[in-house]
């Protein structure tokens, strides 16, 4: 197996694990943990896309490194994606705290107002 294949498979497994957790858990904090794992998987996937065999980091140095550089664009996308993921997580957890204040529980099965 080559490095991109390993990375691809594990990124993909991370997304699946995260989504599985999101769909099956009842504890809301665990659902958000699942979301974070899936997010990490997507980030790994994007980095994999820009990977080049034996590539070096896309930074020009005084002593030029031999060989190709990896693609900088997906890395820039991942930076954005990480920050967006953090923003969503912070908002989601604040909502969970608010729900706990009003319902006294973070279990979706015990919150009866809406159908999940």
């Amino acid at each position: 197996m080559t490095v991109p294949q390993i990375l691809y498979v594990s990124a993909f497994l991370l997304i699946l694990i995260g989504l599985y957790s999101l769909l099956t858990q009842r504890n809301m904090i665990r659902m958000i943990i699942g979301l974070n794992i899936a997010d990490l998987g997507v980030n790994l996937f994007l980095v994999t896309i820009g990977f080049v065999d034996k590539g070096s980091a896309p930074i020009f140095r005084a002593q030029a490194a031999a060989g190709p550089m990896v693609d900088p664009v997906p890395q820039a996308l991942v930076l954005t994606s990480i920050v967006i993921g953090f923003g969503v997580t912070a908002l989601a957890l604040t909502l969970v705290m608010r729900l706990f204040v009003s319902h006294g529980s973070i279990d979706t099965a015990r919150i009866r107002g809406l159908k999940w």
């Binding site: 996937f45 896309i49 997906p74 969503v88 969970v96 608010r98 729900l99 919150i111």
Partner: protein, 475 residues
């Protein structure tokens, strides 16, 4: 020179400033001024000659390396719709949100929502679209939760979790598209996907449509909609039902017609649309709360627009866009008035509004006009748009067109019956306790009335706008 970039920069700057303005009044005035500026800008672009789209590159770097924005006639028309409804909703919020504390931030989020809407309309870069889409989603989650009731927190969290999964799918799709095309500019991706393996293109398109379809409330992924739209503050329900889902729908359609033109998405989308109409209208028929009824009705109406837009003919697209404009007006009126009904009676069920139409005569009449237009009664705008959709479907000869006509007619009957039920309750004899429960003056506050009146004008005289509505869903 008036650059299209002002559409994004002006609301951003105003939102950044709002944090410093801690007084509610100041924030309101700032938001109103910003919305006025945006409306003027949109009017300028709407009047401008856009037969060839005006493009702007960011940072002086042309695509595919840089990001390009492009203003075409469709974007200009939708920008006008967004900025005017934003203006009216902010005007309405002025009286509706009076009692709430710390609402100045609410205006900032509303402005950011508008900035993000303009962003996803204008950008021609897939990842830039994703960033603006995220801003749109996050500000919608916040606005839904800003009602500060138990139900609104739940609805918001549900919306957030579903929306985040959608964004993950979109990001994977963007990654796949970049892998095959080596670029993020929409035109490059379209070209590369046309040459790529068909299952690869199909996977990319499916992930993207599924992801973005969540915000556009396309049938299988719209379970968040009734909760979110019914438990949000009424002004926000008007915004969300009025232009956010429609905007997402149009942008999604534009992308699936241009970027994913090599994949035949129209047929599955058409059947999804029909399922959405049926389920939305049937569910709306069974509801007892007014705002929930309206939310389910939005679900059906989105299906109607999607059906028209996916017919694949010029007439269908034009009819769909016209119906979109009509729905923005009518649904905003209904939600804004529903908000006042809730304020006055303190109850959400339709049956507790009996006799309210006699106590608030003008409001009641406006409500009935909007409802009639939504059903499609001549000579209101809704009649023309629905008629155009039906005739376009009959003329198109597309697969499922006749089935669609049957479903739309059935949906119309259902819609007429539940909206008529509401209207009858409004003008029925008030029961003793309800009259006492109604507090406040007879009509709505003046700014709110002005806002509702603005939307009603659109509903009544919209048919004169028909020749102005552009149809080209071009890149």
């Amino acid at each position: 020179m008036v650059s299209p970039i002002l559409f994004i920069v002006v609301p951003l700057a105003a939102a950044f400033l709002t944090v410093l303005v801690n007084r509610n009044a100041g924030a309101r005035i700032l938001a109103l001024l910003t919305a006025l500026t945006l409306s003027a800008l949109a009017w300028f672009w709407f009047r401008a000659d856009l037969s060839t789209p005006v493009s702007v590159v960011i940072a002086g770097i042309a695509p595919p390396m840089g990001i390009q924005l492009s203003m075409d006639r469709l974007s200009a028309a939708l920008a006008l719709l967004i900025s005017v409804s934003g203006l009216l909703v902010i005007l309405y919020s002025q009286s509706y949100l009076k009692s709430e504390e710390a609402q100045s931030k609410h205006y900032a989020v509303l402005l950011l929502l508008m900035a993000a809407s303009f962003g996803i309309l204008l950008t021609r870069d897939l990842f830039n679209l994703f960033v603006f889409y995220e801003i749109l989603c996050i500000s919608s989650y916040i606005l839904v939760a800003s009602e500060e009731t138990k139900a609104s927190f739940e609805a918001s969290l549900k919306y957030l979790l579903l929306g985040s999964v959608g964004s993950l799918f979109m990001l994977v799709a963007i990654g796949l598209a970049y892998r095959v095309s080596g670029s993020l500019a929409m035109s490059d991706i379209a070209r590369a996907l046309g040459k790529a393996d068909s299952s690869y293109a199909m996977l990319t398109a499916a992930l993207f449509v599924l992801g973005m379809g969540i915000e556009a409330a396309i049938f299988p992924v719209n379970t968040w909609l009734p909760d979110a739209h019914s438990s949000a503050p009424s002004s926000i329900s008007a915004v969300l039902s009025g232009f956010v889902i429609e905007l997402a729908l149009v942008v999604l359609l534009r992308i699936s017609m241009t970027v994913f033109s090599s994949v035949n998405l129209m047929l599955p989308l058409r059947y999804m649309a029909l399922a959405g109409i049926l389920i939305g209208e049937l569910a709306a028929f069974g509801q007892t709360e007014l705002k929930r009824t309206l939310a389910y009705s939005s679900m059906g109406q989105v299906g109607l627009m999607l059906f028209a837009l996916t017919l694949g003919t010029e007439a269908g697209r034009q009819a769909g866009m016209a119906h979109l404009v009509m729905h923005t007006g009518a649904k905003s009126v209904l939600f804004l008035i529903a908000g006042y009904f809730i304020v006055r009676t303190g109850k959400r069920e339709i049956k507790s509004y009996s006799g309210l139409g006699r106590r608030m005569p003008l409001t009641g009449v406006l409500f009935v006009i909007a409802a009639l237009s939504l059903v499609g009664v001549p000579p209101l705008f809704g009649f023309f748009t629905k008629f155009k959709i039906l005739s376009a479907a009959a003329a198109s000869g597309a697969t499922g067109a006749w089935l669609g006509i049957a479903v739309i007619l059935l949906g119309t009957v259902l819609e007429a019956s539940y909206l008529f039920r509401v209207a009858r309750t409004l003008y029925s004899d008030p029961e003793g306790e309800n009259v006492k429960a109604v507090k406040g003056r007879m009509e709505m506050d003046v700014p709110a009335l002005v806002a509702v009146f603005g939307f009603t004008l659109l509903v009544i005289f919209g048919s004169f706008l028909l020749p102005l509505i552009p149809s080209g869903l071009a890149l």
